[in-house]
Symmetry: C2
Subunit: 435 residues, 2 copies
Amino acid sequence: MQVLEGDAARAALTRSFNEIPVPDAVLARIRDTFGEALTPEAVVARILDDVRQRGDEALLDWTAKLDGVRPGGLNVGPAEIEAAQVDPTLHEAIRLAIRRVRSFYEQQPAHGFLNHSPEGALGQLVRPLGRVGVYVPGGLAPLISTLIHTAVPAQVAGVQDIVVATPPARDGTVHPAILVAARELGLTQVVRAGGAQAIAALAYGTASVPAVDKIAGPGNLFVVIAKRMVYGQTGIESLPGPTETLVVADDSADPRHVAADLLAQAEHNGAEPVLVSTSRELLLAVQAEIGGQLEALPEPNRSWARDSVLARMKVVLAADLHEALALANLYAPEHLCLLTRDPWSLLGQVTRAGGVFVGEYSMEALGDYVAGPSHVMPTGGTARFMSPVNVRDFQNIISVVGLNASALRQIGPAGAALARAEGLEAHARAIESRL
Amino acid sequence: MQVLEGDAARAALTRSFNEIPVPDAVLARIRDTFGEALTPEAVVARILDDVRQRGDEALLDWTAKLDGVRPGGLNVGPAEIEAAQVDPTLHEAIRLAIRRVRSFYEQQPAHGFLNHSPEGALGQLVRPLGRVGVYVPGGLAPLISTLIHTAVPAQVAGVQDIVVATPPARDGTVHPAILVAARELGLTQVVRAGGAQAIAALAYGTASVPAVDKIAGPGNLFVVIAKRMVYGQTGIESLPGPTETLVVADDSADPRHVAADLLAQAEHNGAEPVLVSTSRELLLAVQAEIGGQLEALPEPNRSWARDSVLARMKVVLAADLHEALALANLYAPEHLCLLTRDPWSLLGQVTRAGGVFVGEYSMEALGDYVAGPSHVMPTGGTARFMSPVNVRDFQNIISVVGLNASALRQIGPAGAALARAEGLEAHARAIESRL
């Protein structure tokens, strides 16, 4: 791996936001499925439109076509949710994760204010959303933690009605671990649908799936495009895409831990691991460690991790920790791991990241499951303007204006003057008619 | 005007979110300008693409084509901002509006937390965005208040770098009132560009306009479509479209005030005024008042208001205030005005609205200028999932995980169990390598 420095490092860590990258394999699969070379946007537009028009039938048809199964019913029945079982260790881990994520979000300040003064009252009410959709990606294993890390902040926000959507397995079932997590969370609606078709159902509503006010959760390229397209129709919390971790390490870091953290990131499909260090020795030691740890991984994880390392890993030598943090802020990583002698002293310099993992016992993998904050964090540099999933995502502010006659006398004339300057005579008169 | 009740009222106040309505006049203007029948989306895509490719030149070309002027320079010079003057009454009104909006947002709770415990520390940092673009629509008059009501919350959030974009007048200038407001706000960059081309410049950056992290502010159909399209590339605060007010009034309301408030709304282009009352007498009296007050308005305001009233005004008779509030929540209005005997007693029933205007001295027109909360509020029913512009729009949350060895021993095994259940072996090992 090439070690980048200075301007070359800055160039490599500057994001190009212009396009969502589309892997060739995705384009090939589109050609196979549709018999023509469509863009992913065209595919998603077609699916959204069809689900909007034909509802459940379209949802079932697309699930059959894309996920290879036509489930008997779209919603998992209550008896099936009730009966789901996993081994006791996993069950306890699910309970612990729910407890810890809940306890974290209960600490988030998320209240309004109403300030009464002699002029009346002004303030903000904070209200939970009415109904939220949680998208849990499918793939090769049940993403239990994604359900927990999205639904719990919504529950803490006060949302009463949460609909879960997740693609069914080839046999039409939803993994029991997802159902156990749903049951532990008190959720009763789990829809057997994924991809753009699930986003469409949550946005527009069908006979079996109620339209929601906001859709939260990560997904593949098609899910992200669908969320972008339905935005405005319904709310979305962010556009989480392929994951990434940037590790800042100095010469005090243990190369074994740095390598383990980068590989934990790398085993995600499309992941981008980035290492920024002030020590050339550490960079070399980590590269050697990555080689060894890669070999020790079982398949398919070894292949996944190797693909990410070979295709996308970036290694940067920084002049000092100040430059390292500047590069991290430039990149705006989803995960920023600080593996340095005094990591807390760097926190004040972090301006752009989804989450910061401080020190060697706070590995990002722990944050993915049981640390507390949601693992659904902004990717692709969108940490410039987006936040990890949090309580605010599931609450609205309503402004309150409750002024009295005395306040109106004080400020009404200025309001009328501004209204006339803007050419809005009826505004001015609505004020003056009460003066 | 037809008075709607019961199911008919519910149907009339249920939003269809499927399409952004495109007036025929807009389609005709597109045909005239482009020589072909393009959709607004196709027009915007073309403009975005061109500005991304050709930068300033494209920005100037589109301004010439669509706004009828090719400004000498894209940025208003510092001397011009310094020299701008308006009459002293208006100047003082601008200062008052800035003071009051600032004072309101300084009260918004917007802080993070970092909870240190024996297991280490968990929390959320709250950071201002780096650079924000404020879009100020053009039109027939300078929208001074829009600049104030968008820039001030960003400033209170701690944003250091704010770029203003607004379409130039036919002579290439920006109205002195906008420049005076910018000066009073301490803003130094005002870009002479509007429409989709301005959104493109703010999203992608050009030689004269730096790319921003988030674009805030209302605009016409093309601006809203452009904001939707660049979302992901850059942040956007919401998608404010044509404005609307829903007035809930009982038999105690003064028909003159109700009519004045509805007409103040109606004089906006495309506005939707809605009146819900428990009193048939009031409905009739307000309709008579609207007729009289309309006639007394000068042109062009009279025509604007008449168009909105004739095309879109809805009048609803509710069985009681409980039903009136339920209908208001269903509609999720940008502005909800409570003109009833005891308006504060209704506040707890409001679940969906941009802003609530409580009682007869809190007319919405006052809120547009000097009350305090931003007048940029969610329209078109998006108050189901969006908030008025506020401090949170201009801050990101960064999650912090800083656990110690003892915490890792406690929760690490559960994390590893979840990782293995999700098929992520390298995650499990990254945790276990520290245990």
